[in-house]
């Protein structure tokens, strides 16, 4: 189904039309196959990058697309509806550009951003560690100042693009314990001592493998410190506020795809002499799914519009991520139910959608952490 959209400019409408065209012709036909083989779609991502999708919400001055978040998220949503892994890749890449774009010096932005946003390079965001996931402030990866550089030692976990990234945002400890001792460094992938480990065997998103990344005395130049020493945790959390909206948009797109597929199936499948969509038990299930998708979309775009207007949006972003990803889990699970046995086999995409939805409740802050963020805002009043 074509989603009705209200976009702020004619260019944004043209952009969405272009994105749907590319996604229909290049992504949708390949998703199931790449996922089944676990192949990372590097060339297809380059195609998306060349279309200008790797820096949409950043300033044109530095090579970005100059688009409001509201537009960027709708682009992500349309891509996620064809192939979640591709949308996830753009979302993680965009997140990885945030620290320099928002906290880099003018010289760093001028030097680094045009290439990072240009579409050829891919970024990774190294925050989680084996021992410190939700509690990122407890990280142990250390950066020791040594002359004109930092020497980084430690292990990051669950890193998207671990094997394919051209640059890594590395959050690491330059000072004492706790969040205030953390800094953000931007490392090139070729840096000696940065060693991606074996890929994890994941439930879904196999086309976008994750892995631990070992930092074994990796030397990163001091001019690659983003923000001040000790500002890293604040930068990481700010980046995640924005990144969470990307995950929410991915969830909306994925759920829309599951809904569309389930509706199509329920119209065509007959039992007891009639299409199953005409049984209230199925029709109402689909109605609830459709309502939930619309609600999550509206909520996500509302948070994006707050961000675009320069208002505080952290709490609304957490709510959108929480609601949209829980919604996607429920809607994709119900889509499997609507297809019955057919929903459980790989001939139809809904079992994959269901497996894919799960990750969205975990990444960029688990949904428990989102509730914690929201509750803290409520407690502060």
């Amino acid at each position: 189904m074509t989603v009705e959209r209200i976009l702020p400019t004619p260019e944004a409408s043209d952009l969405l039309a272009l994105v749907c065209d590319i996604a229909d012709r290049e992504l949708a036909p390949r998703a199931a196959d790449f996922e089944a083989r676990g192949e990372f779609p590097r060339e297809l991502l380059r195609l998306l990058g060349r279309a200008g999708l790797f820096g949409l919400p950043y300033d044109e001055e530095y090579g970005g697309g100059g688009q409001p978040y509201e537009v960027y998220l709708q682009v992500l949503e349309e891509i996620a509806a064809r192939w979640l892994a591709a949308a996830e890749a753009i979302s993680v890449h965009t997140l990885s550009c945030y620290p320099v774009a928002a906290h880099g010096t003018d010289a760093q932005r001028k030097r680094l951003l045009p290439d990072m946003l240009g579409g050829e390079l891919l970024g990774a965001y190294c925050l989680s560690e084996p021992a410190g996931g939700s509690d990122a402030g407890a990280m142990t990866t250390r950066a020791q100042r040594d002359g004109d550089g930092y020497v980084v030692t430690g292990t990051k976990a669950w890193i998207t693009h671990a094997h394919h990234a051209d640059f890594f945002n590395v959050f690491c400890r330059t000072g004492g314990p706790g969040p205030r001792g953390i800094s953000c460094l931007l490392a090139d992938a070729g840096t000696p001592g940065i060693v991606p480990q074996a890929a994890e065997r994941t439930m879904a998103l196999r086309a976008s493998p994750i892995a631990q990344v070992a930092f074994d005395g990796a030397r990163i130049p001091a001019d690659r410190l983003i923000g001040e020493e000790g500002a890293g945790f604040r930068i990481a959390m700010q980046a995640l506020d924005a990144g969470r909206l990307g995950i929410a948009a991915c969830a909306v797109g994925l759920a829309q795809a599951a809904l569309d597929y389930a509706v199509g199936y329920a119209r065509g499948r007959e039992q007891f002499g009639q299409p199953i969509i005409d049984f209230q038990g199925v029709g109402f299930l689909l109605a609830d799914m459709a309502t939930a998708v619309s609600a999550a979309r509206a909520q996500t775009l509302w948070a994006a519009r707050l961000k675009d207007a320069g208002r505080p949006y952290s709490q609304e972003a957490a709510k959108a991520k929480l609601f949209a990803t829980d919604m996607a889990m429920r809607v994709t699970t119900d889509a499997v139910q609507v297809l019955g046995g057919a929903g459980y086999v790989a001939d139809h995409p809904v079992e994959r959608y269901m497996r894919e939805a799960k990750v969205l409740q975990i990444v960029e802050g688990t949904n428990q952490i989102q509730r914690m963020v929201i509750a803290r805002h409520l407690a502060k009043g």
């Binding site: 260019e11 043209d14 952009l15 272009l18 065209d21 590319i22 195609l47 060349r50 279309a51 200008g52 999708l53 949409l56 697309g65 688009q67």
Partner: protein, 259 residues
């Protein structure tokens, strides 16, 4: 090398298309209008030549106001500018009348090379390049699957049912292309933004020195008198396999002469 690419807005060939009941012209109001698919290949070929040889790429269309959307789509791929022949009197023009207008517009642009799609998905007559060539007194190399330029000489592999023919001509000439010639690029956000600022010149019939009665219904040499809807698709044959499914399938293929 200065290149003009002919483009046309057509109703999406993937969707249901209708003729207007009043004058038997294409109903553009209900259709999803798109840039004629084959024209994207012509634009791509022009851009590749420009990358190799320099010069300017102009897109030219004749059509109503909304054909401006097709111009914008084409410009987003990369051409430098566009010319839109727009005049209320053009409505109902047949191929012969259209070729008169396009030839007149091309004379004002004086290109070394005119590129066009081999056909449009609405009219599908494939004659426009020949008619324009005739009017301008230049060569028509049609149905190209490959085009090479060597100075002022064009060489084309002309796709035929049996294979291909190699034909050459001196510039200026018109070349029409099939979708085998290249892989059109996607526009980009940068292309979308840039297209907003590219010049689009609008020309009227008066600007081209053509009188209204030479075009439109009045000036057309052919008229669509009547049209009939395509019959609805027949339901296919269902083979129920009760042991002899294979035999039945082979019989079906044999009767339909597929084997």
């Amino acid at each position: 090398m200065n290149i003009v690419v002919l483009v046309k807005q057509v109703p999406d060939s993937g969707a249901e298309r209708e003729l207007r009941s009043d004058d038997q012209t294409i109903d553009r109001s209900s259709a999803n209008n798109v840039l004629n698919e084959m024209d994207e290949y012509a634009v791509e070929e022009a851009l590749k030549l420009q990358e190799a040889l320099g010069g300017e790429v102009t897109v030219l269309t004749m059509g109503p106001e909304q054909a401006g959307e097709a111009i914008r789509k084409a410009l987003q791929m990369g051409p430098d500018k566009a010319v839109h022949v727009l005049d209320g009197a053009l409505h109902g023009s047949c191929a012969v009348a259209t070729s008169k207008v396009l030839a007149a517009a091309l004379r004002t642009l004086n290109p070394d090379l005119v590129l066009a799609g081999a056909e449009s998905t609405d009219g599908r007559v494939q004659v426009m390049p020949h008619m324009i060539a005739e009017r301008l007194g230049i060569a028509a190399l049609t149905g190209a699957r490959k085009l090479t330029v060597d100075g002022g000489t064009l060489t084309v592999e002309r796709q035929t049912e049996e294979g291909y023919e190699v034909v050459t001509a001196a510039t200026p000439a018109i070349v029409s292309v099939w979708d085998t010639i290249n892989e059109p690029r996607y526009p980009s956000l940068k292309g979308i933004m840039a297209a907003k600022k590219k010049p689009v010149q609008t020309l009227s019939l008066a600007d081209l020195g053509i009188s209204p009665d030479e075009v439109g219904f009045a000036g057309s040499t052919s008229t669509v008198v009547e049209s009939t809807k395509r019959p609805p698709r027949q339901a296919g044959t269902k083979v129920t396999d009760s042991g002899d499914g294979g035999v039945q399938l082979v019989e079906f293929l044999a009767t339909e002469r597929f084997v």
